[in-house]
């Protein structure tokens, strides 16, 4: 049992667990202590000093984020002295900062800007000592602008501890200390997997996605181009919050309407290819189960996970499903199936994807994903970029009348929509795999054991005619490591994986917590958005991928059956081994299958 202690914050008596820090105790009871480097989802780095408070009987102010509570502590969070101390700190930071708020991606969301504003700091009046450094634009996904970095260290904690990718570090010390990749080689020459979790936790505009909005506007305005757009499952539950709707509001039909207003020629849906993925991956899984395969099948839809696997677990690449991600399936089909059905020259098609993800920008540019004869997916915009586009277009999203998507590749089942949450792909796959093995529908479609935010989830499902199917789900790459290490060890010692089927998503919470999601993307909002997807699932008429009529139709009219030669050509891929030092390809480690 945790002990509790009595403390007084600004005269208010509180009883709190003795394991808490002052800032945690204050947050829990609704007292806001100004801060810059501290984030409740992360261990404190205690770098900025803004959270100072006075403690009775202690001569110097203490940092609330790293000072534990003590019995009888009397804490002052707000005094003239503290205010002036905080103000000086913020002034020092801003005088070494490239202040361009009106045009900065973080404008209105930036924690530094908000703090400066609250403290009454006027950046215009400050001298600048900024020694401007080049912006790291090497990466296809992440832009790193040191001139806006306040050295809070959050990105480093996220990259090294939450994601265990080890791409960036704090270099040098004192005033010159800054975030960098080893030897200043740039993000593209590091093991960075493009997950974007660092951009989500960065309090300023120092880390952001590589923007593609202008390229998309150009395509839309080009009369010769036919611009198709797809949206990932989690986008529909994250768009509304920026337009005054409640957190987690389910808005697919407003989303279609907004995209049509923006000017896309055809508005369809990634959820359709999520259902299609289940048929391809599910069939792969069932084949493995039936063959008594000792090695597991691991999901392949998360591009951050795929690059991580290629870097740290290439020896297990053969266990990863060859199915392309739903985005890439959509991309290739938009220039083959859709082009054929609608009699459009694929050379004129521009395929755009709206994703909660920064790693999708990297995925889209993988040279092997060109099975349509073109780059399958032309542009990827994050949810944040779509929000900016909607605002640029002056669309009143909250009051937009709902519209239906265009037909062909847009119908989706509840199984497709839960792809956006951790455990969702697993649940969707089980719903269909059960049917594929037994020929009967699963009685209880809600598989609670694989839902929720526990880091690693396990379940065993009884499948008549096969026996027990053991599954595991991990989200966040440090959790992926736990699962993959066990698989590797178990294969080495017993020759058998502890699980038959494993789902891995790179971002904590799954895509709802993706690196391209709107700012303020903390664990609590990820949980809320995830629940919204499960609510949408329950409300839909079709809840299993194999019952999606458009999926049935694409197999009848175009693909034949799952894992047919054409399906293998268009919908499946292969993997590489990458260097831990710089993330570059070392060699190809799996083959593209031509026959099943």
């Amino acid at each position: 049992m945790a002990k509790t202690v009595n403390i007084w914050i600004d005269g208010q008596h509180l009883e709190v667990p003795d394991s808490m820090t002052i800032i945690e105790a204050a947050d829990k009871h609704g007292v806001y202590i100004p801060r810059l480097c501290y984030h409740p989802d992360l261990p404190p780095t205690a770098n900025c000093g803004v959270c100072v408070v006075e403690i009775e009987g202690t001569p110097a102010p203490k940092r609330a984020c790293c000072t534990p509570v003590n019995e009888g502590m009397k804490i002052t969070t707000n005094s003239k002295k503290l205010r002036s101390y905080r103000k000086t700190l913020v002034e020092m930071i801003l005088s070494n900062h490239d202040v361009t708020c009106p045009t900065c991606v973080a404008n209105n969301k930036c924690e530094l800007q908000i703090l400066a504003n609250n403290l009454g700091v006027d950046p215009e009046s400050l001298p600048t000592i900024l020694d401007r450094q080049p912006v790291d634009e090497s990466s296809l996904s992440i832009i790193r602008d040191v001139n806006k970095c306040i050295s809070c260290g959050r990105c480093i904690t996220v990259c090294n501890e939450v994601q265990t990718v080890f791409a960036i570090t704090m270099t040098d010390r004192g005033i010159g200390s800054h975030v960098d990749t080893p030897f200043g080689m740039g993000m593209a020459n590091s093991p960075c997997v493009n997950c974007g979790q660092c951009t989500v936790y960065c309090p300023t505009g120092a880390l952001r996605e590589r923007g593609e909005i202008d390229l998309v506007w150009d395509a839309i305005l080009d009369p010769d181009k036919h611009v198709i757009v797809q949206e990932a499952p989690s986008v529909r539950v994250s768009l509304g919050e920026d337009f005054g709707l409640p957190l987690g509001a389910v808005t697919p039909k407003k989303m279609y309407a907004a995209l049509r207003k923006i000017g896309f020629d055809s508005v369809m849906d990634t959820n359709f290819t999520a259902d299609l993925t289940i048929l391809e991956e599910g069939t792969e899984c069932v084949a493995k189960l039936k063959a008594g395969e000792k090695r597991p099948l691991i999901t392949s839809c998360s591009p951050g996970w795929i690059k991580f696997m290629e870097t740290y677990y290439p020896d297990l690449a053969d266990c990863v499903s060859t199915a392309k991600s739903p985005m890439s399936m959509f991309g290739v089909l938009s220039k083959t199936y859709y082009a054929q059905e609608n009699n459009i020259d694929p050379a004129k098609i521009v395929s755009v994807a709206i994703m909660p993800c920064t790693a999708k920008k990297f995925e889209a540019r993988r040279p092997e994903l060109r099975d349509s004869g073109f780059q399958d997916t032309d542009y990827v915009l994050t949810t944040r970029e779509l929000i900016r586009m909607i605002k640029e277009a002056g669309i009143d999203f909250a009051n937009l009348p709902e519209e239906e998507p265009d037909e062909g590749m847009s119908f989706y089942s509840g199984a497709g929509t839960i792809f956006g949450a951790t455990g969702g792909v697993m649940e969707a796959a089980i719903r269909s795999a059960y049917f594929l093995v037994t020929g009967e529908e699963l009685q209880h479609l809600d598989i609670e054991a694989v839902r929720g935010l526990q880091g690693v989830k396990e379940a065993a499902i009884e499948v008549p005619g096969f026996g027990e199917v053991r599954v595991a789900v991990a989200h966040g790459l440090s959790n992926a490591r736990i699962v993959m290490d066990r698989v590797r060890e178990s294969l080495a010692t017993t020759g058998e994986s502890p699980w038959h089927f494993i789902e891995i998503m790179a971002c904590p919470g799954g895509c709802v917590g993706g690196g391209g999601q709107p700012y303020g993307n903390d664990i609590a909002s990820r949980a809320r958005r995830g629940l919204s997807l499960y609510e949408e699932d329950r409300s839909l008429p079709v809840r299993q991928s194999h019952k999606n009529p458009e999926v049935v139709k694409i197999y009848e009219r175009f693909l034949g059956e799952p894992l047919s030669p054409l399906a293998l050509k268009l919908l499946h891929t292969y993997y590489f081994k990458r260097s831990v030092s710089d993330g570059q390809v070392v060699e190809q480690v799996t083959e593209k299958h031509t026959a099943h």
Binding site: N160, F166, A167, I168, T169, M170, T171, D172, R173, D180, T181, P182, F183, M185, S190, V580, S581
Partner: protein
């Protein structure tokens, strides 16, 4: 070469500093390369970005090739007050380099250092393992010339 140095130590994380020292000291250009970091990372099971962070945290390590003689001018306040800035200017012009750079002939690298601990003789600099105090422009000229002659 880096592997041989690693092998002299047990593969334990606390040996990192020692290994890096030896690598730098035995390299003809007195620095630690990306290749060296990779070898040490593999050997100790530490991520490369972590080693790079350590390398740049300590001023004694260099991540770029350096000259035969390393000049380290003290930049701490006592030396500053006694005119280390003038000495820095003198060194820069004599050697035709900026701080952190190496001369064309590869003979000198000019660096700044934290307090060298002999503030009584400020301003001071170290060249390799030798300490030079009470510096004036003239003394700097003598010292540098002497080393240059010794190298002909």
């Amino acid at each position: 070469m880096y592997t041989e140095i690693c092998n002299k130590y047990t593969p334990e994380k606390h040996n990192l500093i020692q290994i890096l020292h030896e690598i730098q000291d035995t390299h003809p250009q007195h620095y630690i390369s990306a290749e060296a970091v990779k070898t040490v990372a593999d050997y100790l099971g530490i991520a490369e970005n972590h080693i790079y962070g350590v390398l740049t945290f300590y001023t004694m390590y260099s991540t770029t090739p350096r000259g035969k003689n390393i000049i380290r001018l003290c930049e701490s306040p006592p030396c500053y007050i006694k005119g280390s800035q003038n000495i820095l200017r003198k060194l820069k012009s004599m050697l035709d380099v900026q701080t952190g750079e190496t001369t064309q002939d590869g003979l000198f690298t000019l660096e700044l250092s934290a307090c060298l601990g002999v503030c009584g003789n400020a301003p001071v600099m170290m060249i390799n393992d030798d300490m030079y105090g009470d510096l004036t422009d003239e003394r700097v000229e003598e010292i540098i010339e002497k080393i240059r002659r010794g190298n002909q």
